[in-house]
Amino acid sequence: MSEAPGAEGQQTRSPLRVGGLTLVRIFLRSLFLQAAWNPRGMQNLGFAFAMTPALSRLYPDPAERAQATARHLEFFNCHPYAAAAIIGGAVRIEERVAAHEAKAEDVATFKRALGPPLAALGDGFFWLALRPAAALAAAMAVPFLGLWSLVVFLGLYNFLHLFVRVWLFWQGYRLGEGVVEAIGEAHVPRGTGLLKSAAAILAGALAARSVLAAGLPDRPWHGLLVALAVVGFVLVLPRLGLLRAVYLALVAGIALGASIL
């Protein structure tokens, strides 16, 4: 490792790079980000686990390496996919810290600054928009595709999920702090809104299909009952909670079915 005198009297080393294979290892380890999720440090251990190959490469001295590892055991929480951008960015900043071009605190500042906004962005897009939309598209496809509807769900979801995860990691590593602009240009909130609208339309179509399936061809009262049940449950579900609602549906069905049919 070549060294040159730094601006503040420190030795500034030539820029260090972790290398392609190490980046692949870090990305693969980032898939285990939540393996030991805990209420105190949340994803802290998973983050440090993902960073370990980079730190091993950047800090040959065991004491320096342990010190660097310790700063990644601080509290960290983000959406597990969006965290890829922060892990990539943290690797880039650690390269600069190892070369004495940045301060060790810069890594923590970067993680703290990006964690909450990326968590909100990821939660909104993946959990609240893409997953419902993909699941409802698959549910609509079941009568036509049967078991192949699983492929619809997994394909729709993971095509986007894996692409975004790899892209975020690479952009994070390539741009460091500049990843914020790259994510801003991706127009994620607009995509979230469109997916939610699609999911709402699919949910309505699915509800109608449930009613038609229950009522046709010659059970109009059955269909009417299911239609009333759908509307009723939409209204009371938030107050009732899922478990009570399931038992209400089952007990009401048993009582009605046993007395009418």
Partner: protein
């Protein structure tokens, strides 16, 4: 695939081991690793069903359970009901019971399975919280070892996968072993109770559709869903009325 399921102990034990292994692996996929959505009820139930000998039966269970739990989202420190444990346990109980009965997964059997196991969604949430509190010890151990200079202690992260795997596998294995009891229960039910359970399953589907509408957290969602429902119903009526 195990082939035709028999009620004898070796067959049941083999089926329980297979269901336990798949359910355990998917339990860690749910939050700890990858998160490719393989642990969602829509995927998990047909997978376990296929391993036990009835993928279509698994899909019949997984579809409504997927919609029921679509709105359960882990945001920050919040923990939703554990849809993976619920779906894996219901599938592990009902699919073998359907094969033993010879009827496959029918509506009454599905309703009976859900009636017995529905609290597992909430129970799974409590279990998950307990496991996560135990993970604090792992993080503390890792921090202590790193402070002593052992940077490789971050590998303790992987130990966090053990408890979700073991607990889910044990519960699902036990559900397969209890399948003959569900068969007995179903056989002793009078026809009126069976009709009631069938109606109950239809109402679970209605609840699933309602839960799907509720899962979309957007101010325009209710209006868009209502318009789509009216359009589909209208199109169905028109196609029946028009020559």
């Amino acid at each position: 695939m195990l082939g035709p399921l028999d009620a004898d102990l070796p067959h049941l034990l083999a089926a329980a081991a297979v269901a336990a292994l798949i359910a355990g692996l998917l339990a860690i996929e749910r939050k700890g690793v990858l998160q490719l959505m393989l642990a969602r009820p829509l995927v998990l139930a047909p997978l376990i069903g296929a391993a036990l000998g009835d993928a279509t039966g698994g899909l019949a269970l997984g579809m409504p359970l997927e919609l029921l739990t679509l709105g359960g989202v882990s945001l920050g420190a919040s923990t939703p009901d554990n849809e993976t444990l619920l779906a894996a346990a219901v599938t592990s109980l009902v699919v073998p019971a359907g094969l033993l009965l010879g009827s496959g997964v029918d509506e009454s059997l599905a309703a009976l399975g859900l009636l017995l196991l529905a609290p597992l969604g909430y129970g799974g949430q409590r279990l998950e919280r307990w496991i996560e509190v135990r993970n604090v010890e792992l993080a503390d151990q890792a921090a202590a070892r790193v402070a002593k200079g052992d940077a490789a202690a971050t590998g303790l992260n992987l130990r966090g996968l053990v408890l979700p795997f073991v607990t889910t596998a044990l519960i699902c294995g036990a559900c397969v072993m209890l399948a003959p009891a569900l068969v007995l229960l179903r056989r002793f039910l009078p026809p009126r109770a069976v009709a009631g359970l069938e109606m109950g399953w239809h109402l679970v589907w209605a609840l699933s559709a309602a839960a799907a509408v509720r899962a979309i957290r957007d101010p325009r969602a209710a209006a868009l869903s209502a318009i789509a429902a009216a359009a589909v119903a209208g199109a169905a009526v028109l196609t029946r009325v028009l020559p």
